[in-house]
């Protein structure tokens, strides 16, 4: 019985947190700090911690990958971690040996950037998939792809006959879109007779579940950063000759959020462990972690703005950047209500 991060994991977290504190600027480079990502990949193996070493990964487990994503979500690091990790995960799980060997090493080394052309599971619905395979090539436009404009490698669902198959594509046009999230911007991606390599038609639910956990980790980091900032401000901000954190209106709201944050932390830890052990429990743990982390992140980000007062709503302050990231994370891979519906049906309600 050892349900806690070990000393090595704690130390790894501390070192990446300290690195990000020094180097990550949410406002850098219009949402894409390529150099930072490069260093995260080479110095921390950020993109591939749980991929096998033979593919250039770190040979760790999703627990460690979740830990990286949590710290990126805490720092609001403007790097294409989501796109790359999601694309790599798809290839890792569903790619044949050749595809894995070709695609993964440069992705995990940070030499190439990946993106997954999927926003929610509805994008796997044959009636809605916008890309169609025609022989060996793909054609169609995906309107919203996180990190798509900086990606070299795209994993995209495409209709093959009446089935939806994920493909790896490297020839595409991407146009950055105005994005709610300024630290994880999105692009529209157009494929025109693009050569595509199909992945296996494996367990897409399982893939989505692992992605849910990783996204939950990102949201958990965002939530923790927001509550931390609110608490720190409540300590120093004085009104009526008292720090505002001594007022119950502030103190109790922070306490309620701390309870939710603690729940999200436990849920992400458990779900990442379930992913690491490839346990059947992942099927429930993943949607639980996703909605608990999402709801907590949105609530913490909103509370942080509120507790900071007017200053928290200025462009200069980071509070709205967190709120934007929390909102998009909550929508990605399906809303919290959708997660609960997935949970209900998996539990046989």
């Amino acid at each position: 019985m050892d349900f806690a991060y070990d000393a090595e994991q704690d130390q790894f977290r501390a070192s990446i947190r300290s690195f990000l504190a020094d180097h990550a600027d949410p406002r850098a480079a219009d949402g894409h700090d390529g150099l930072l990502w490069q260093r995260l990949c080479t110095d921390f193996g950020a993109a591939g911690l749980h991929a096998p070493e033979e593919h250039g990964g770190g040979g760790f487990t999703p627990v460690e990958t979740a830990l990286v994503l949590e710290e990126l979500g805490r720092a609001l690091a403007p790097v294409p971690a989501w796109g790359t990790v999601a694309a790599a995960e798809a290839v890792l799980r569903l790619g044949g040996a050749d595809v894995r060997k070709e695609v993964l090493p440069p992705l995990l080394a940070g030499e190439r950037i990946g993106a997954l052309a999927l926003v929610t599971e509805a994008d796997l619905d044959p009636a809605r998939v916008p890309v169609r395979a025609d022989g060996e090539t793909l054609t169609g436009t995906v309107p919203v792809v996180p990190n798509g404009h900086v990606a070299d490698v795209l994993v995209v669902p495409a209709l093959v006959g009446d089935r939806v198959v994920l493909h790896v594509v490297t020839e595409f046009e991407a146009e950055r879109q105005d994005s709610l999230d300024l630290t994880r911007p999105v692009a529209a991606v157009r494929l025109t007779d693009a050569p595509g390599t199909p992945l296996d038609e494996g367990d897409l639910d399982r893939l989505l579940d692992v992605l849910r956990v990783l996204l939950a980790a990102d949201l958990l980091g965002t939530a923790g950063a927001c509550l931390g900032a609110a608490v720190a401000y409540a300590h120093t901000r004085v009104q009526f000759n008292r720090p505002i954190g001594s007022f119950q209106a502030v103190k109790h709201r922070c306490a309620e959020l701390a309870v939710e944050l603690d729940a999200a932390r436990a849920a992400v830890m458990f779900a990442a462990l379930a992913a690491a052990e490839d346990s059947p429990e992942l099927a429930t743990a993943a949607p639980v972690a996703k909605f608990q982390a999402a709801d907590t992140a949105v609530a913490c980000a909103a509370a942080s703005i509120q507790i900071h007062g007017g200053i928290g709503f200025t462009r200069e302050h980071d509070a709205h950047l967190f709120y934007r990231r929390a909102l998009t994370g909550a929508a990605l891979l399906g809303s919290s209500a959708r997660q609960r519906e997935v949970l209900a049906s998996r539990l046989g309600f």
Binding site: L180, T236, V238, F247, T328, S335
Partner: protein
């Protein structure tokens, strides 16, 4: 009980409708339908039109050049302007006419009235409000901007923040501390200060939605005449409270009109996405519709009180809390309806508005994202939700105050930012 308007008021309404039909541009669809960069220009023209028709300063007596409208006429005018999506005046009129003008009429000297009122009316003087400071937000009386008499002039040093329409103003009314040895609510003086002088600097604050609705105003040895005090030296807190009482009296019924209109837009959004058949969305939409109905009922009750000359008590606090908390829940519902569309909002935005989107605002995902972001500010400005709950708890329910730690001389209270 009777919720119809008196016949006179309905006749006035008909007149206003005619006026609007005749004076608004052809095909008028509301300010929200104008491209954002044309809105300021339209507002200027429209203010002139209102002035020509005697429809500015509606609450001032005619002797001061006001429209001298009755209470119910003011309400009817506000309703019709809200329905038509036309501004009720220029950007600074809320401060100049609604607040300062009415305050001067009640508390100003004859000289102040005869000098300032016509210039406010003409638009020559455009006012803004210098109240909040970086360390004096919820605790407004904790303000530190100082004013000292130097001969026949006040010399002002300090900083104000959250000054709406500061960049378009040329005068500012300022709460300044003139006696640091007095308790914090005493020793504050209400000063009228010209802004076009070297000691006053205005810097815009860009908000999270990318717009600039507020400003910082810095005073560095700024000067104003010794007699430009309203309510006496040291009497500024009372003047400020008087002035707040003039806020939005005529707007008692417009909140529900605005939110009802925008809810129609949200229902349309949901219908367009096929989500009005989703029981969870239906439930939330119905809750929103009910809350807007409640705003309407409260408006009718408030109007009755206004016409009967009853003071609303903590009603303003309830009203603020209701709309601002509703605004969040309602825009969060919009976010849920948009779902993944949130990630890349498209179409035109809602423009620089503080509350619900203007009439005519396109039903675009970007406009909803703007509203979602603005809703976060709604529970902060003009008295945070925490402050409103305290007011309701203490003034309406009579619950005891917190023990005060700031009762002594202001100078002995510790500074706003600690450790």
């Amino acid at each position: 009980m009777d919720i119809t308007y008196p016949p006179d008021a309905e006749r006035f309404r008909a007149r206003i409708r005619t006026f609007l039909a005749e004076n608004l541009p052809a095909g008028w669809a509301g300010v929200g339908a104008l491209p954002p960069d044309e809105r300021a220009e339209f507002a200027t023209r429209w203010r002139a039109t209102l002035a020509e028709n005697g429809l500015v300063a509606v609450s001032w007596p005619k002797e001061y050049g006001g429209a001298g409208l009755t209470d119910v006429e003011q309400v009817v005018l506000a309703e019709e302007l809200a329905r038509a999506g036309a501004p009720s005046g220029g950007e600074n009129d809320g401060f100049g006419i609604g607040m300062l003008g009415n305050t001067l009429i009640q508390l100003g000297t004859e000289e102040q009235k005869s000098y300032f009122l016509p210039r406010i009316l003409s638009g020559e003087h455009r006012w803004c409000q210098g109240y909040s400071e970086p360390d004096a937000g919820s605790d407004l009386a904790g303000l530190r901007t100082r004013a000292v008499l130097d001969g026949d002039e006040w010399v002002i040093d300090g900083q104000k923040i959250w000054t709406s329409a500061g960049h378009t103003a040329n005068w500012i009314f300022v709460l300044a501390r003139t006696d640091p040895a007095a308790p914090k609510h005493k020793g504050i003086t209400f000063l009228l200060v010209p802004m076009e002088q070297p000691g006053v600097e205005v810097r815009p604050i860009v908000n999270a939605a990318g717009h600039s609705l507020f400003n910082e105003v810095f005073f560095t040895g700024a000067r104003t005449r010794a007699d430009l005090v309203v309510g006496g030296v040291g009497g500024g807190w009372r003047t400020a409270m008087t002035l707040l009482g003039f806020e939005r009296g005529g707007q008692v019924t417009t909140q529900a009109i605005e939110f009802a209109r925008d809810l129609d837009r949200l229902v349309e959004l949901a219908r367009d996405r096929g989500l009005t058949s989703d029981p969870r969305i239906r439930d939330e939409l119905a809750w929103c519709a009910a809350r807007v109905q409640v705003m309407r009922y409260r408006g009718l009750r408030g109007l009755t009180a206004l016409l009967q000359g009853r003071t609303p008590g903590a009603d303003g606090a309830i009203s603020k809390l209701v709309w601002s908390e509703y605004f969040q829940r309602y825009t969060e519902l919009a976010a849920e309806i948009l779902g993944p569309e949130l990630l890349a909002p498209t179409g035109p935005g809602s423009g620089e508005v503080l509350r619900v989107a203007e009439v005519g605002t396109p039903n675009s995902s970007r406009a909803w994202v703007d509203e979602l972001l603005y809703a976060r500010a709604g529970t902060i400005y003009a008295g945070s939700s925490q402050v409103q709950r305290t007011i309701i708890g203490e003034q309406l329910l009579g619950l005891p105050r917190e023990p005060r730690l700031d009762g002594g001389p202001f100078a002995e209270i510790r500074p706003g930012k600690g450790a």
